[in-house]
């Protein structure tokens, strides 16, 4: 059921699939006449591990729990469900993983919904070809891309806009499981498909992308945005929560470099002149958002292995060492690097380490304005080397020091408080984000591959 005069109501139950929400909040969205459910399944925010390894941050049971509620709701209301950035990073493995969970739920719940999967992973050959075409451009603060960086990436994804999602919906999909997509493309897709203006569609999509983050109670759950010809209206699904002009406008600040101008594949959202007005105590009207079409580009994300890490963690409560923690650290580094050279024959070009003093200055280091003495300090040693075996060997050389190292002026050996046995934990391969570039496209959908699975009638 569509809202009057061609308006589209987008239900966003949560900022992240698998984070949880109440079934009653989704029911409330359906009662309000939702035309589509859009939910994000990923982010780069938790670091390069998930893209690098092609694994998900969320656990399957939590994703299945959320999908069960959403698939039942979509089937009951006969409205589409759009999930983006499946499996955290939107790799092909992430899309396949979410598609498998969806298939199980559809079978268990006997729901006859057709499913489109949109794959967004890119081959190194494609990226290198476009690089040679001079069609790959760096985003600030990165510099021009070289082919060896492309080859080093374990996974590369292109961040789709609304176009492949719209194409899948037009082809009849009830459920769209997209690989890497802009957070906004999920909520903007149906309003744009129905011909609503791009300014309000993209602005509303940006406001709802983190679910309840734009409300006065971010933990209260999802929101409903109604997009129409002149703007959009936003309200929380939880009757106890409220959207205020400040809470909605302030959401443009969240995780954005520039809160007024945001690049999408098809152009730029400009909210400089947007006006936020309270309709009542819990609904906000937004007008004046604009969208400037620009050259169509797709942002690339890629991650590469930087080495293998082993972690060790000990803790200090001894007052004398705490009072002389800088001297203790200096001695640690000196004895540790010396012992690694002596026993393993390695110099500091062969491995790297980070010694963190939690409780003292681990988080901010030299930027920390505080000078209070610590009550206790947790000492984390992270060692990175070309292989796991080497990283662990280096960390094990540090083990006796993390157990017994005194300060230079102590004439006995203290025993420090290891947190676990064994002290060392192998962290596996570690990654870094290697791409921060855009590709000029020839068509908005050329970099994405869609597969359709027809609805199965369950007996």
């Amino acid at each position: 059921m569509s809202a009057p005069d061609g308006a589209v109501r987008v239900l966003t139950p949560t900022g992240m699939l698998g984070a949880g929400f109440t079934e009653s909040s989704v029911d409330r969205g359906l009662e309000l006449g939702a035309d589509v459910i859009a939910v994000d399944g990923g982010s780069t925010d938790s670091g390069p591990h998930y893209l690098g390894s092609g694994t998900a941050k969320t656990t399957a049971a939590a994703v299945a729990r959320d999908l069960r509620i959403l698939l039942r709701a979509a089937a009951r209301a006969r409205i589409p469900l759009i999930v983006g950035s499946c499996g955290t990073s939107g790799t092909d493995s992430g899309v396949t993983w979410v598609a498998g969970i969806v298939e199980d739920v559809l079978r268990e719940e006997k729901l006859d919904l057709s499913v489109a999967t949109i794959f967004s992973e890119q081959t190194a050959d494609f990226v290198k070809t476009r690089l040679r075409d001079r069609a790959v451009h760096p985003l600030a603060p990165s510099s021009a891309l070289d082919e060896s960086t492309v080859d080093e990436c374990t996974h590369i994804v292109g961040m789709m806009g609304h176009e492949p999602i719209v194409e899948a919906l037009r082809a009849g999909a009830d459920v769209v499981l997209a690989g890497r997509a802009t957070d906004t493309a999920l909520a903007a897709a149906v309003p744009l498909m129905r011909g609503l203006p791009a300014g309000p569609a993209w602005h509303a999509a940006k406001i709802v992308e983190c679910g309840g983050q734009c409300t006065t109670n971010p933990r209260a759950g999802g929101v409903l945005a109604t997009i129409d010809r002149t703007g959009f209206t936003i309200e929380p699904l939880d009757p106890e929560a409220a959207c205020t002009p400040i809470s909605v406008a302030a959401h443009m600040l969240y995780e954005t470099v520039n809160p007024f101008v945001m690049r999408e594949p098809a152009g730029e959202l400009d909210v400089t002149d947007a006006v936020y007005t309270a309709l009542d105590a819990r609904r906000v009207r937004v007008e004046g958002s604009r969208f400037h079409p620009a050259r169509h580009t797709i942002k690339l994300e890629g991650a590469r292995i930087t080495g293998y890490e082993t972690m060790s963690f000990t803790a200090i409560r001894d007052e004398h060492i705490l009072a002389n923690i800088e001297e203790w650290t200096d001695l640690f580094v000196k004895v540790f690097t010396g012992r690694v050279a002596q026993t393993l024959g390695l110099d500091t070009a062969d491995y790297a380490f980070d010694l963190r003093r939690y409780g003292y200055d681990a988080i901010l280091g030299s930027l920390d304005p505080a000078t209070r003495p610590p009550r206790e300090v947790g000492v984390m040693l992270l060692v990175r080397a070309a292989t796991q075996e080497l990283a662990t060997a280096v960390a094990k050389v540090a083990n006796p020091l993390m157990l017994h190292l005194p300060t230079p002026d102590m004439d006995y050996l203290p025993s420090l408080a290891f947190a676990t046995s064994p002290a060392e934990t192998e962290r596996g391969a570690v990654y870094e984000f290697a791409l921060h570039h855009v590709v000029d496209t020839r068509t908005p959908t050329e970099m994405f591959r869609t597969e359709h699975r027809k609805a199965v009638t369950h007996d």
Binding site: T44, L139, A249, E255
Partner: protein, 106 residues
Amino acid sequence: MTEQRTLGDLALEVRSKNAGPFWVTMELFLRDEAGYALAAEIVDEDLVASLHEVRAQDVQIFRIPALNVVKISFPRPVPQGGLHDRDVHAGQHHVPLASVPAHPRG
């Protein structure tokens, strides 16, 4: 001697976060217009550069009187999730800004 007021004391909230893997952004949500006016004057590119050991020309500042907000963005100094990244979400990096004394420049 009275305790010196900080920007954090004038604010409802001071926060920091990644803005994608390659940028950090932080916001001061000031309690009122007076606090906003003071923060908008105190916080500039040079101050942020010295607090975070980054180049002043890379710092972007947005002063938003309608929200009583001063927003700051700059390239992430340490690669996200790397060996030397001690704050994967950059969620604790607002503290130096919040600790800046809140008095007008003389």
